[in-house]
């Protein structure tokens, strides 16, 4: 439809749509929203009705709401405001386009498949309203399509290959400075008197959460917090670089006041700002030309998974996902619940899941431990279930990074060396011999001596009683025998990988020698002649029945 307000010499009224990219620094598309505009408004759209249904826990909502408060506060300083609109984008935008006589819509490019689909629909709708749409990439360091193109039109599936491709590209675009007062002054933002009623940021209670007794947030959302942390983070690096590099120690299991991952995920911190700050710090300290790629290791991992996922709408599931090995995971809701709620009877696992639920962040080695325990290490439950729990609880779980990491750790994609198994007792003990991490997150075990705190079920009754925590009564018995479980699971993984060895190359343990003849697997009623991990579904069960007659 032709928008009635479009005529000659029309005013340029911009709407910038925040989704991720919750910041005013390095925000190229926001700059374009303001550039030459007569009026501009920044909006965030959320639907409180879906807050309960969405797989988003209280810590994630709280972080987001704090980030929105921070944006609003920064915009206030620039004599503007954040407009939080309740509803769904497809319903909200037609209304806004009319009410505000919008001529220009801007938003940051979202490379995730769901995001691309949603945005495609919005762009189309905007066109119908005669609204110009501007989209710019600022959530990833590079243009992901370029990386894919440089790799023969398919995303790199090994990190080394990814690094090789990236090393040949130009450096990421330099970050832009924050929106200035001047830029904002050139466009008016009409702020109604009832702005706080109409466009306010909802509270946790309004989203349906109960907040009595909610402990304070360990990670505070928002751009200001992000930039503050960035500075402290870089200070620390200088200190560290001049002395000894630390190994992973018990302190790093705890939330760091300079940790940045949740801020990157929500876009409170620009990845390019981080990239260039690291680069410049390195060059200052080392007086050399270019830093090795390993300096940006963690940023590149994020980029790697985004690239792998951007064209794969099935990236977050096993079925119909071309890169995912089809593994016959068990379905066991009871076992899954014990894991998710930190009631496995393995203090190391339970402490980690408790920290995750309480705070929204756990160290990457802790993630490896619980992911391995849930999937190929012990419980043999699908990585999709674990991914969903992380999505709910983990502040820095990007869709792409979360799904990709779970596939990696469960040996479903990208990685095949399934002999690496993290013992839920030994690995914890080696990471934190003092057991203090356990005592902190599972207080009922605090009086256990170091010797038994990782395996309280092995402590003599006298020790258990003295610690006031009897296994099977106060604290659960271990839900699985790890030796037996891992033995079984190694066999299962081997069964799966033996069938793939022709296509994937050998992985250790997959090719245990056996006599060839008479060991041929018979046919299933699915196709065996195709390669790759996919399995076809039964097209029609009725048909099978009929031909048999």
């Amino acid at each position: 439809g032709h928008a009635p307000w479009l005529g000659v010499a029309m005013a340029v009224n911009s709407v910038h749509w925040f989704r991720k990219g919750l910041r005013l620094h390095d925000n190229p598309v926001l700059q374009e929203a303001l550039d030459g505009a007569d009026g501009a408004r920044c909006v965030y759209i959320l639907d409180p009705w879906f807050a309960g249904a969405a797989n988003v826990g209280i810590n994630r909502w709280r972080f987001l709401l704090e980030a929105l408060e921070d944006l609003d506060s920064s915009l206030k300083k620039l004599k503007s405001r954040l407009f939080v609109i309740r509803g769904q984008p497809t319903d909200v935008f037609p209304r806004l386009f009319k009410e505000w006589e919008v001529t220009r819509l801007t938003f940051e490019y979202d490379p995730e498949p769901y995001g691309k689909e949603r945005d495609g629909a919005i762009i189309k709708m905007a066109q119908e309203f005669g609204v110009e749409t501007i989209v710019r990439n600022a959530h990833t360091l590079y243009d992901l399509d370029r990386i894919i193109e440089a790799n023969n039109n398919s995303p790199p599936l090994t990190f080394k290959r990814f690094q090789a491709i990236v090393s040949r590209l130009e450096l990421p675009r330099r970050p832009l400075p924050p929106i200035s007062q001047q830029q904002m002054d050139r466009c008016r933002t009409n702020i109604a008197d009832n702005h706080n009623q109409q466009y306010s940021i909802p509270s946790l209670e309004e989203l349906g959460f109960r907040t009595e007794g909610l402990p304070p947030a360990v990670w505070h959302g928002g751009e200001s917090e992000a930039l503050d942390r960035l500075n402290k983070h870089l200070d620390k690096k200088v200190w560290v670089a001049n002395f000894e590099p630390p190994r992973v120690n018990t302190c790093s299991l705890y939330a760091s006041p300079t940790g940045l991952s949740p801020y990157l995920r929500f876009g409170c911190l620009s990845c390019r700002v981080l990239y260039y700050n690291l680069r410049e710090l390195y060059m200052k300290l080392r007086k050399r030309c270019s830093p090795p790629l390993s300096l940006f290791g963690q940023l590149l991992w994020r980029e790697f998974f985004y690239t792998a996922a951007t064209n794969n709408p099935n990236f977050d599931r096993m079925e119909a996902n071309p890169i995912c090995v089809q593994i016959p995971w068990d379905q066991n809701p009871e076992a899954l619940a014990k894991w998710a709620e930190g009631r496995t009877g393995f203090p190391w696992i339970d402490a980690i899941m408790t920290q995750l639920r309480q705070e929204g962040w756990i160290h990457h080695l802790a993630r490896h431990a619980v992911a391995c325990f849930l999937t190929r290490g012990d419980l043999w439950i699908s990585w999709e279930s674990g991914m969903k729990v992380f999505e709910e609880l983990l502040l820095d779980a990007d869709w792409s990074v979360n799904a990709g990491s779970w596939m990696w750790l469960s040996c479903s994609a990208f990685f095949q060396q399934f002999f690496h198994c993290y013992c839920p007792v030994g690995f914890g003990r080696r990471t934190d011999p003092s057991g203090d991490y356990i005592r902190r997150y599972i207080p009922m075990l605090k009086d256990y001596p170091d010797r038994y705190i990782y395996e309280p079920w092995n402590a003599p009754q006298s020790v258990q009683k003295a610690a006031n925590c009897v296994v099977g009564v106060d604290y659960p018995k271990p839900m699985i025998n790890h030796a037996e479980g891992s033995r079984l699971n190694i066999e299962r993984m081997k069964q799966v990988y033996q069938q793939l060895s022709h296509y994937r190359g050998l992985s250790l343990l997959a090719s245990v020698p056996t006599i060839q003849e008479e060991a041929e697997p018979p046919m299933t009623d699915e196709s065996l002649s195709g390669s790759g991990p996919g399995r076809r579904k039964h097209k029609s069960k009725i048909l099978i029945f009929r031909w048999m007659m």
Partner: protein
């Protein structure tokens, strides 16, 4: 997937068979028909008249579902569909929607196979999920295979071992049906099942001449005497998999007796039920007898023990070729491995703990001259020692899977340099394995800034918390 050679469902290339003759036959037949019918071309009728051998040949390429569709074309094609050759192999997939994501073989299909094709079945396996119902369904099917003369039987649990939940008598009686009727079983996989000594006796009584492969790891109801009976009678046995508690000197001697063929693969799982469990020892002389009798045999050993349970192992020479440590194993034990495992081909260490394995690895490189594959998980090795190890092994190392965190940079090499050195000695490009570091910027920043090249003092401070950093 391995295919049965000889034409069954080999998607990789032309199967053996005689296509040229069959084609000739079609051409002759077709030309005869067209002569008879006159000048009219009737291509449709050629399809219906394809000789059965050719149809069979084509059907062998098709997966079952496509064959089923094809069988509906007409009577001829339907007849071909039911030819015995197409029913030699079957894998029953038994899954419940509540316990598995995979779909199951249709129950009607199962009924029809039992009714029309059970006497054609020769290579059969059952894949069951973790529900008891699936395992019971497998037993029910087994019990009905009375006219079968199976060559291969495999009972495979894809998740938890559900055969162990089936009432023992039900399982045993089902299995016995197969043992008694088959009489020519060559390959039997019954790991994680409640098979017992008496049923093994039945197996032996009926199939001792033909049995070549027997896999029965984690079968708790079998005793050493039970398996000894198998070794004593089944002289054609070439591959055996069992748990360590079933292994005895007598068993090894039985397998090395003159009447016995060469054993090719022996797989032993050593699993600890409770911490502090005691394991018996096997005499060196028994192992020596095995090696003398079957000089090329592979001995695959999987250890799932606590660190302090390794006392009985690796004190004397043992002919292990493939060795896997599924839990943490001490430096000391790895040192013994270096001394006493001259036939070692593959070594995989899941975890060791934070003390560098420099000497142990070098000793292994020196004494295990057949070593061609090694995997290290949660271990530590200094870069120099690692380079030395690779240099000593050289190009025989076809598989080198080391997690990046295993390698400790030292005076001579940093992480960025090491992969060149190793690649050089291996003769191919090599990188350590990586795990995604999800979390940007925790306190670990090991590889990013190469520090001054000095021996790192913290290397010997296990678990030291440099609290000044946070």
């Amino acid at each position: 997937m391995k295919r049965i050679k000889g034409g069954e469902e080999d998607g990789h290339g032309p199967p053996s068979g005689s296509p040229p003759e069959a084609c000739k036959k079609v051409r002759t037949q077709a030309s005869e028909e067209s002569e008879a019918a006159g000048a009219s071309d009737a291509p449709v009728s050629d399809w219906a008249r394809l000789p059965q051998e050719l149809l069979l040949h084509i059907f062998q390429y098709l997966p079952l579902l496509d064959r089923a569709y094809a069988s509906q074309v007409g009577r001829r094609w339907n007849q071909t569909f039911h030819m015995p050759e197409l029913w030699r192999c079957f894998e029953f997939e038994l899954n419940q929607p509540a316990s598995s994501y995979l779909k199951a073989t249709h129950p009607d299909l199962i009924k029809q196979i039992i009714k029309r094709h059970s006497n054609h079945l020769q290579y059969v396996s059952f894949k069951v999920d973790s529900s008891t119902e699936s395992a019971e369904a497998a037993c029910d099917i087994l019990s009905q295979l009375v006219n079968c003369s199976l060559k291969t039987l495999g009972l495979i649990s894809t998740a938890r071992p559900s055969f162990m939940e089936v009432p023992k008598s039900h399982f045993i009686s089902a299995l016995t049906v197969v043992f008694v009727n088959s009489k020519s079983l060559s390959s039997l996989k019954i790991d994680d099942t409640p098979v017992d000594d008496p049923s093994l006796k039945v197996l032996v009584a009926n199939n001792s001449d033909t049995l070549k492969l027997l896999k029965m790891s984690s079968c708790p109801h079998v005793s050493p005497a039970g398996i000894l009976c198998v070794a004593d009678q089944c002289h054609g046995l070439r591959e055996l998999a069992l748990n360590y508690h079933l292994l005895s000197d007598e068993l090894l001697l039985a397998l090395s007796s003159e009447k016995h063929v060469h054993l090719e693969h022996l797989r032993i799982d050593v699993v600890s039920e409770n911490p502090g469990q005691h394991f018996h020892t096997i005499k060196r002389s028994s192992w020596d007898a095995m090696v003398r009798h079957s000089p090329k045999f592979n001995l695959v050993m999987y250890f799932f023990l606590y660190e302090d349970e390794f006392g009985p192992f690796f004190n004397e020479e043992v002919p292990v070729t493939h060795l896997y440590f599924g839990r943490s194993v001490s430096k000391e034990v790895l040192g013994r491995v270096g001394l006493h495992c001259p036939r070692l081909v593959e070594l995989v260490v899941c975890a060791n703990g934070l003390r560098p394995l420099d000497e142990e690895l070098i000793r292994i490189a020196k004494h295990c001259t057949q070593l061609s594959a090694i995997g290290l998980g949660e271990c530590e090795v200094s870069c120099s020692a690692f380079v030395e190890f690779v240099k000593m092994c050289g190009r025989r190392l076809s598989q080198l899977s080391i997690m990046e965190e295993v390698l400790i940079p030292d005076n001579k090499y940093s992480l960025d340099e090491i992969h060149w050195e190793v690649s050089k000695h291996l003769g191919r490009v090599w990188f350590p394995d990586m795990m995604p570091t999800w979390v940007p910027f925790c306190d670990q920043w090991r590889s990013s800034i190469p520090w001054k090249k000095q021996a790192a003092p913290w290397l010997h401070q296990k678990g030291a918390c440099t609290s000044g950093l946070t």
